[in-house]
């Protein structure tokens, strides 16, 4: 599944309930996150829900994996990972996650507020990308 498919699916959904159900489903379909990686070090700090992020290099690309203890946030994590994972550092730095989420009508989840860790997650992904430039 890639971000274009998510956009197409969203276009068919008029009701916000259906969109959230879909986001929750994306979270449930994320590959299992190693519980051993749910460490303080890998935690991206938000106020309400916990978000974890790990990465590995694959040639010139960076593969990200993530998880959250809240369903909707986990679905949003899945969307963020679709946007960034498997890209090169320079692609990561250039990608505008906010614009993509805006297209999906989800940009309110990426405000620099303390209600969830997504904003901090994108910041960290960008920092990791920058560190490999």
């Amino acid at each position: 599944m890639n971000i274009e498919e998510v956009k197409e699916t969203f276009e068919f959904m008029d009701e916000w309930e259906d969109r959230y159900r879909y986001i929750i489903d994306l979270g449930r379909r994320l590959p299992e996150f190693d519980p051993g990686d749910q460490t303080e070090e890998n935690r991206v700090h938000g106020c309400t829900s916990k978000v974890w992020l790990v990465y590995e290099r694959d040639g010139d690309k960076i593969i990200f994996k993530g998880d959250s203890d809240a369903h909707i946030v986990k679905g949003l994590v899945a969307i963020i990972l679709m946007i960034f994972s498997g890209k090169t550092p320079s692609e990561i730095v250039k990608t505008d996650a906010k614009a993509i989420l805006e297209e999906l009508g989800l940009s309110q989840h990426l405000s620099p507020m303390r209600t969830n860790g997504l904003f901090a997650m994108v910041e960290r992904i960008k920092a990791i990308g920058t560190s490999f430039l």
Binding site: Y20, T48, H71, T115
Partner: protein, 419 residues
Amino acid sequence: MAESGGVIMGNVTHNYNVEAIRSEFPIFEQKIYGKPLTFLDSAASAQKPQKVIDAINDCYANEYSNIHRGGYFLSQALTAKYEAARETVRDHIGAKSSKEIIFVRGATEAINLVAQSWGRKFLKGGDEIILSQMEHHSNIVPWQILREEKDIILTVSPIDDKGNFLLNEYEKLLSEKTKLVAITHVSNALGTITPIREIIKLAHNAGARVLVDGCQALPHGNVNVVDLDADFYVFSGHKMYGPTGVGILYGKQELLDVMPPYQGGGDMIRSVTFEKTTFNNLPHKFEAGTPHIAGGIGFAAAIEYMCAIGLDNIHRHEKKLLDYALEKVKEVDGFELRGQADDMAGIISFTMKAAHPHDIGTILDQDGIAIRTGHHCAQPIMDFMDIPATARASFGLYNTKEDIDRFVAGLHKVNRIFA
């Protein structure tokens, strides 16, 4: 309207016309995602009635100048109004003298002031401060900062699984080493009303002073600081339908008199030379710099607004809403009430089996329902209950039975979506 089993059958009880009250709050005129605003987060900050907005507006539009300084008409008139606001606060909490009413930015600053002024002067290594398990961070961290400097001991008074304050356990912690008990009147995270009168009496018997965090108590009813015999009592304007950025430190005059100033600046001095400065009298000794003038005046307007409705009426109305809500949530599968103390204010703290508090808050938001999710700036109580967060619905004087019906319908929807 008829009542049945303590449950409100309509929105008018005991001459409490909540629809008329709601119409005085402009914020309820708007729709959120096309739906009526169901505001259930007054414990974080309450909405403002037109009377408060008008008082602030009037201050800036027609009355404004600096106070305590100018000899001209506007300054004198506004000084009188600001000091009248202080008097309104004094009268509201039954303090003996307006010298005991210090305007601060909020309860957080009030506690920091006491820690940094009274604490630094009168506490020494080995002295103990007793806090409760359910304190807000603002009544924990200022004492920890003081501990770094003074090597004092912070002791935590326990609660039971339901959130009741354990008076017997507390009594055992008191000793001649106890110099201060710093405790909440009503828990923001659980809604528990603490037995504050007994807590204060026992502390005084042990020779300790008591600071009460009254942030969640004053929005819901009457508090008399002399009757309680509190040494310090702190609260914020914005939770009482007043503006943000203004709050009160009440302190007994005998204590405030011997406390050194907290901040230096204008307004708090009598005379300044480079060799020596003498400080102003109470309350100005603790009010350095130009104060939040419109804030103080707006706060007094909010107190007058609450009193015009009647504190007992507000209390009764909110109690009925709470009872009604507690009945209704029983129908919600997987609903777990966190905080079931015998005596509770208008706060429902909860979790659900089907979803994380953050998920609950997100789904309710889509229906225009505002609740708080998180640790409520009270992480120690979350750790005690072994949960990362709760969802919290809290009631104010403008909430209705329909608000609760929409809230409960939202919880059923959460169950459907996450099933």
